[in-house]
Subunit: 212 residues, 2 copies
């Protein structure tokens, strides 16, 4: 978990052995889900035309975001790589189907987003399993959902949740990219922990194992 | 990942050693987040009055859900335990703060929910780390968000994402509760994997490592 990174620039492009891919998908599929609905799907994308089309869309969205920045923030963003779509061995697109397990998904009547949460749990399992297998994973989120639905023929009502670039890497960085580029800094764990109520001070908690 | 379960009935109530709690929170805090925003917080709840009040609310929501069921579904649901709030050593409530990292969270301009996704990745890290430490975790989702906000003094705009019951357990079941009770069945992994496009058949993929 502490070794895992969000990878952009270290992909080698070497193929992922089929048994390795099977294991990381099985790990994702073993995630918890509300009402045991398992509302996720995984689309493996290797086709060059598809990846190029998505890459061009992401580049466009990069300019949209860049236009909201000024001065030093804009300069820093210039140096930050936001995707490894063409360099990674493959992309795995993870989707959410709200109809899975209906009617009456146990545990979803009061919280409509609970199904979406389940999909994210599967994504983290996938990411950690890939890390354990020595692969890198990079989550690209500079895209509009309707573009991805159209590109991959995803039916209306089914929502793309993540576009993940996956594959062997030369190495995993030890510091997150955005910290290395001075874009953001990690927050101390102690600031995120509260006792009994919001902002309840937690003096007892030893956070000595804090690794950021 | 394959050993992890969503626990309701096996909590012993024994205390969680402080160093163990520190490690599972550090694991959660090491999760990936959009723009390195780390938009999560963790509220440790042990107070009996708070837990009883939440438990009563969950029991009420159980009746709300039960009223939507009929016949055999209603009967099956009767036998299913939906929470371990009072039996578990503690609860950990995980929240999402959309203002964290603003303005201009890198990677969130096109997908508003990306911050919420990050919180879920932290929850899965927490869950897996707890499993590795021999603890059980149960995600309770029979509640209304405003009730939890009020109960724990969570400010408007910050959203409770999960109420997790955490603690030592007698054992972890090998089959999910909802499958043991005949409520739902796990889906074969092969059904969830597509090649290149939605419903693209993936004949190459070995899913021999499939463990459901």
């Amino acid at each position: 978990m502490h070794r895992r990174r969000d990878v952009r620039g270290q992909f080698t492009g070497a193929p992922i052995p089929a048994d390795v891919l099977g294991r990381i998908l099985a790990a994702a599929h073993a995630a918890p889900s509300v009402g045991l609905s398992q509302p996720w799907d995984f689309i493996r994308v290797t086709d060059d035309r598809t990846r190029r089309a998505f890459h061009a869309h992401v580049q466009h969205e990069r300019t949209v975001f860049a236009a909201t920045l000024a001065g030093e923030r804009a300069e820093r963003f210039d140096g930050i790589r936001i995707d490894g779509i063409l360099a990674a061995s493959m992309s795995l697109v993870v989707t959410y189907d709200p109809a899975r397990g209906e009617p009456a998904v146990l545990g979803r009547h009061a919280i409509a987003d609970a199904g979406l949460y389940s999909v994210c749990l599967a994504i983290e399992n996938l990411w950690l399993a890939a890390t354990a297998e020595g692969l890198g994973v990079g989550w690209v989120s500079f895209y509009r959902e309707p573009f991805v639905q159209e590109l991959l023929g995803i039916p209306a009502g089914i929502r793309p949740v993540a576009w993940l670039c996956v594959g062997p890497v030369t190495h995993l960085e030890t510091t997150p990219d955005l910290e290395r580029h001075g874009w953001a800094r990690r927050r101390p764990l102690a600031d995120a922990v509260h006792a009994e109520r919001w902002r309840g001070r937690d003096d007892q908690l030893p956070v000595g194992s804090r690794r950021g």
